[in-house]
Amino acid sequence: VTDSAVWVRTPATLERSLSDGFLVLPPDSADPLFLDDTAAQIWDVLHEPVDEADVVALMASRFDGGRHDVAGDVASFVEQMAAVGAIHLVEDSAAAP
């Protein structure tokens, strides 16, 4: 994984968009995860490859919390979702030479 790697949803992840969030069934999870509020917004952004720093900047612009707090929340979310295979890193084609 290089510095230009970005996060994106794993194609094998199944999901439903609900009125109050997303229901997500990652490939490595037996039970679906319900994502609401901030988690739902991050998940929505991840439908296209995106850099974690860009997610932090976007969430910081939407919420009052400091950028540092948001960065922690995003990092925690990304770590959890990657652990169950819901998202994975890909090389950023836009950053390719």
């Binding site: 794993t10 439903r16 609900l18 009125s19 229901l23 069934l25 037996a30 679906p32 319900f34």
Partner: protein
């Protein structure tokens, strides 16, 4: 109907207090969790089958993703697949190896491939896979050529895979069988499926040819008229015009009475099934197959009753 109810509340078509909203949202979440588990099962089945297998997903996931406005609007409780008779044994074995246990045994050797409607396999994860040879019990299921349906499939992209489904007119035909020959009175979901899968006016002529070759005009007319009446759905469409002017034959009435009304029963459908088969050999084989369990049962009692 959880998705439609949740949407109706969200859009303000139905009033609900906070407790009711929470309950409706929870019910919708639960229904969708079931759908995702079934789609996971579908991907497992798809990955296990040899590519040459002639099969297709019917109903639930196909309609949810291809015909409904949003897949979250269409709930389903099991996985239905239509499988060519020649592949039934392989699919049954695959599901058994995966921990499935067939709900009812084959009534007679070879019955599944020649005359059966299908078999249900409850799986260890709580999902159920219904493996269909044809779309209905009784005469209309026997009159149908499932391989004709399976010859015209579309592809559903799901979970990074591509899953075969019936094409649009095949999905419409199945929705009509389900709505017209299933529960009496029909449930709302299959009636909505009829409306959702209605072919375009331009293709209706070719769809009607398929309906005619399956001798299913009465099935489709009943499904269309019931959907129109129940859902207050009356598009200016040649299919609706055709259904309103359709006059069922005496055979249609006889067959329909085995599915709907006071004389409807499994026994009546089984008896009428003989009329759908062509040739004395086929009819004799069918008669022998459907009476075999009864004969075996009587033989058992006869043997045990002897001193």
């Amino acid at each position: 109907m959880e998705g439609l109810l949740a949407t109706a509340v969200l859009e303000g078509f139905i009033e609900a207090d906070d407790d009711e909203r929470r309950a409706i949202a929870a019910a919708h979440r639960s229904a969708m969790a079931t759908c995702l588990a079934i789609e996971r099962r579908l991907l497992t089945v798809e990955a296990s089958l040899p590519p040459s297998t002639s099969w297709a997903v019917v109903k639930g996931p196909a309609i949810a993703h291809l015909d409904e406005l949003d897949p979250a609007l269409r709930s389903f409780g099991d996985l239905d697949v239509l499988v060519s008779a020649s592949a039934l044994g392989a699919v049954h074995r695959l599901l058994t190896i995966a921990g499935g246990r067939r709900r009812y045994a084959e009534p007679a050797r070879g019955f599944d491939r020649r005359f059966g409607k299908g078999a249900a396999f409850p799986m260890p994860d709580g999902t159920e896979v219904d493996v269909h040879r044809t779309l209905a019990l009784g005469p209309w299921g026997l009159a149908l050529d499932p391989d004709e349906l399976l010859a015209r499939t579309a592809q559903l992209p799901l979970g990074g895979r591509s899953v075969p489904v019936l094409d649009r007119s095949g999905r419409f035909l199945h929705a009509c069988y389900h709505a017209a020959l299933g529960d009496d009175p029909p449930r709302l979901v299959p009636l909505r499926d009829v409306a959702l899968t209605l072919p375009s006016a331009q293709t209706w002529g070719s769809v009607l040819d398929r309906v005619t070759s399956a001798r299913a005009e009465a099935v489709v007319a009943r499904a269309l008229l019931t959907a129109s009446c129940t859902l207050r759905w009356s598009p200016d469409h040649p299919a609706l015009h055709w259904a309103r002017s359709f006059v069922p034959s005496r055979r249609d009435r006889r067959w329909m009475a085995s599915y709907v009304g006071p004389r409807a029963s499994s026994r009546a459908r089984t008896v009428r099934g003989i009329e759908a088969l062509s040739g004395p050999r086929e009819r004799l084989a069918y008669a022998a197959a459907v009476t075999a369990p009864t004969i075996r049962r009587h033989a058992f009692w006869w043997r045990t009753a002897r001193p």
